[in-house]
């Protein structure tokens, strides 16, 4: 199995085998995160452009760290300091970045489809680090990796997603990935955040249902994915923060409805006391910090896979062989 695309724009078009391949590719990089010396020389001489047109802290740092641990150099573009503010078009901005000859572009943008649009105009691999309310593929992969580590397998799990699913790219990437392994989804939140159409976005035969009572939604859950409640959306006239907490906050008491070994994921940053109680966020079932560590492993494997070129098959062995060499590297 290889990865047949130049870019990683979305998880939706990938098959279960391709997704398994991507997850397996991340494994050796997970091990590296436990090494005292984490820096490899695998991508020495390569440059990764990080273009974040939307504010992001953790994803930007995670990709930047992943690139640096592979020995690659990075070019950073942040919307605030960029010519975007001066009215330059997205296409002109990325063409300018591309003229500085990076080997790969990692981009985050507030517009759904922005990475897809850019990839059509560039000849280097593009990794979508989140596009509007469409997808966040590396997050979907790191969530799946975390689940697979804890549960042993991705097959046939009951996944409950809580919150503003309509506007969540994380939810979409999770649905597209995990549905292909037979996971059953229960989507729960206020009706305007869980539109009926979400039941039909998965692959044919996917099991996706909407439930409006959190107690019912948590019944028999193996995994609970809690989404960040975007506080700006709470100010929409439709819903008050107090109502949200009353109806949908994940508390220890409510969590008891789930399976005893259920795990909790959250893409961060968390609003403690809004979508999740501190007790649950810090409890034994919570995997939020593992997610962060796995994020670097997943992103290292993606950068490795896409920037080593389509001719060379990405090979976990060779990646594993690298650490010794690079542990001696002095940069």
């Amino acid at each position: 199995m290889t990865y047949r695309f130049r870019d990683l724009l979305a998880l939706e078009p990938l098959s279960a085998d391709e997704l398994t391949f991507l997850l397996d590719q991340s494994r050796p990089f997970q091990a590296i995160q436990r090494n005292p010396l984490k820096k490899l020389a695998t991508l020495r001489g390569k440059t990764v452009a990080l273009a974040f047109f939307e504010n992001s802290t953790r994803t930007r740092i995670s990709f930047g760290t992943a690139a640096s641990r592979l020995g690659a150099d990075t070019m950073n573009l942040q919307a605030k300091s960029s010519s975007v503010k001066k009215g330059e078009s997205l296409l002109d901005t990325v063409h300018t970045l591309n003229a500085m000859k990076p080997d790969c572009l990692v981009m985050r943008h507030a517009a759904s489809g922005a990475a897809d649009f850019v990839a059509r105009h560039l000849d280097i691999p593009v990794i979508n680090a989140g596009d509007g309310t469409h997808e966040h593929p590396s997050q979907g992969l790191l969530d799946a990796l975390t689940i697979r580590d804890r549960k042993g397998s991705l097959a046939n799990l009951n996944i409950t997603i809580l919150g503003d699913i309509a506007h969540s790219r994380v939810a979409r990437s999770n649905i597209h990935l995990l549905s292909k392994f037979g996971c059953r989804f229960t989507l729960c939140g206020p009706a305007m955040w869980v539109p009926r159409e979400l039941e039909s976005i998965g692959p044919p035969g996917a099991s996706i249902r909407r439930v409006f009572r959190i107690e019912e939604a948590l019944e028999d859950a193996d995994v609970v994915l809690v989404l960040r409640v975007q506080t700006e959306r709470l100010h929409e006239p439709a819903l008050s923060a107090a109502d949200y907490i009353l109806l949908y906050q994940l508390s220890a008491e409510r969590l008891r409805r789930a399976k005893p070994d259920a795990i909790i994921l959250h893409p961060g940053p968390m609003n403690r006391g809004v979508e999740i109680t501190p007790e649950v966020a810090d409890g034994p079932q919570s995997c939020v910090l593992e997610q962060v560590t796995n994020g670097i492993a997943v992103r290292m494997s993606l950068l490795f896979l896409l920037t080593s070129g389509p001719a060379e098959e990405a090979n976990p062995q060779s990646a594993e062989a690298q650490p010794k060499e690079s542990a001696n590297a002095s940069d």
Binding site: E12, S89, L90, L91, H109, A111, S112, G113, A114, D116, F117, D131, G132, T133, H134, E135, A166, H167, R169, R172, P195, E197, L198, S200, I201
Partner: protein
């Protein structure tokens, strides 16, 4: 004198479908007769239309020519050249120019520019409200005197029910058509495509079908209240069509048009490519089916293009930042043939009606091939293979989702006021 010989004349006004010769004298039709019956002298220019359809000049009720103000996207000259290539002999241009055509001097400017530069007839539509802002009624009577054929705040609806009522009352007294871009702007706010599974999957904000049909419901009831002539522009939703059907059954003076892109494409075709972004957006599969039924059963009065050029710099951006609208002139006939005639859903007679007597009736004018009528003719093929290459278009813009598509049939010649203004 120009003799169009051996063509198959299809004229819905007279229900003619027969081989006829048509003789044009100056800007009028001089004679229509059975093939070979018209005597010709050496000074008569002959156009051999053997194997071709000869129809009354096609009318487009809905186009944006962008002049004055947005000449980098289109001008009256380039737009009407594209219209001529698409087989249109007359186009109605919407008032959302810069400045807005909300007063007689802008109307006169457009008509003067048309006289100087246009290939086809240009029939301006005036704004219903000042600046199309939905606050005060525009100087409609003065614009009518200057030459507008209808009023509309197209690009958006007439803002409030009260103003719509006032415009309708006033236009009724002036016997002027009101064209409505039906959209509840609060339901459509922020949306860039139709709401549905595809918009949800793509994470693009969608507007429900009701964003259109709620406004159509408002407007047909106001048409009943006022007795005005209401024309619903670019109707895209099944529920809107049902409102129009209801209005027609009640005998109200309500008409509607459908665009080729709405009877050809659906929301599922949208893939972050801004050439698929227009307003109203591409609708659901069942809406498209209903529109085709409406074209068949007569609920729909006209096919109109909503030709909306945007220069590449404006359109080559993120999907949600791109302006709404696509080119339409050069693909209207070919898409109608492909989707409606070659599929057996419409007769050629009915298709021609939707481009000729249909829009003419909406405007309250005549359109037929008969002695004494204006010498405007559209000559097209139903068989010749043709590939649309948007780079060849005289339009200044390139925003068509139908670029590189191959069609069977299409415009062969366009005649306006006795002159062959386009010949392929």
């Amino acid at each position: 004198m120009l003799l169009i010989k051996n063509g198959r004349v299809i004229d819905p006004a007279t229900q003619t479908d027969a081989l006829r010769d048509v003789l044009l004298d100056g800007d009028k039709i001089a004679e229509v007769a059975q093939s070979g019956k018209i005597a010709q002298d050496q000074s008569t220019e002959v156009f051999d239309a053997t194997g071709l359809i000869v129809a009354p000049g096609f009318i487009d009720l809905h186009a944006h020519l962008r002049e004055p103000g947005q000449e980098s996207s289109e001008t009256i000259e380039t737009g009407t050249r594209a219209a001529a290539r698409g087989g249109f002999t007359a186009v109605c241009c919407m008032p959302n120019t810069k400045p807005v055509n909300d007063n007689a001097s802008v109307t006169r400017f457009i008509l003067d520019r048309a006289k100087a530069t246009a290939s086809v007839r240009v029939w301006p539509i005036g704004a219903a409200s000042v600046g199309s802002k939905g606050e005060a009624i525009a100087e409609i009577a003065a614009m009518k005197q200057a030459g507008i054929v209808a009023v509309s705040d197209d690009g958006k609806p007439i803002a409030t029910a009260k103003l719509t009522r006032q415009v309708m009352d006033y236009c009724r007294s002036l016997d002027l058509l009101v064209i409505e871009h039906s959209e509840d702007v609060s339901l459509a706010a922020g949306a860039v495509m139709r709401e549905g599974v595809t918009s949800t999957r793509l994470g693009l904000p969608g507007m429900p079908a009701a964003a259109e049909s709620v406004c159509v419901a408002r407007d047909v009831q106001l048409a009943e209240l006022t007795g005005a002539r209401l024309h619903v522009a670019h109707l895209s939703a099944k529920a809107s069509l049902e409102q129009v059907r209801w209005a027609k059954q009640r005998g109200l003076r309500v008409t509607c048009e459908v665009t080729p892109h709405h009877f050809t494409l659906i929301d599922e075709d949208v893939q972050y490519d801004s050439r698929y972004k227009m307003n109203p957006p591409l609708a659901a599969r069942e809406d498209r089916k209903a529109l085709i039924e409406g074209l068949v059963d007569g609920t729909v009065d006209a096919i109109a293009t909503d030709h909306a050029p945007h220069e590449p710099a404006l359109k080559d951006v993120e999907f949600d930042r791109a302006p709404f609208g696509i080119l339409g002139f050069e693909t209207a006939i070919v898409l109608s043939l492909e989707q409606l005639v070659h599929t057996g859903r419409l007769t050629l007679m009915r298709m021609v009606e939707l481009f000729t007597t249909g829009p003419a009736r909406v405007l309250g004018i005549e359109r037929k091939i008969a002695a004494g009528q204006p010498a405007d003719l559209t000559i097209f093929s139903t068989t010749r293979e043709w590939t649309y290459d948007v780079k060849q278009s005289p339009s200044k813009s390139r925003n068509s989702p139908f670029d590189t598509r191959t069609f069977k049939g299409g415009p062969i010649a366009t005649i306006v006021a006795g002159h062959i203004i386009y010949k392929m």
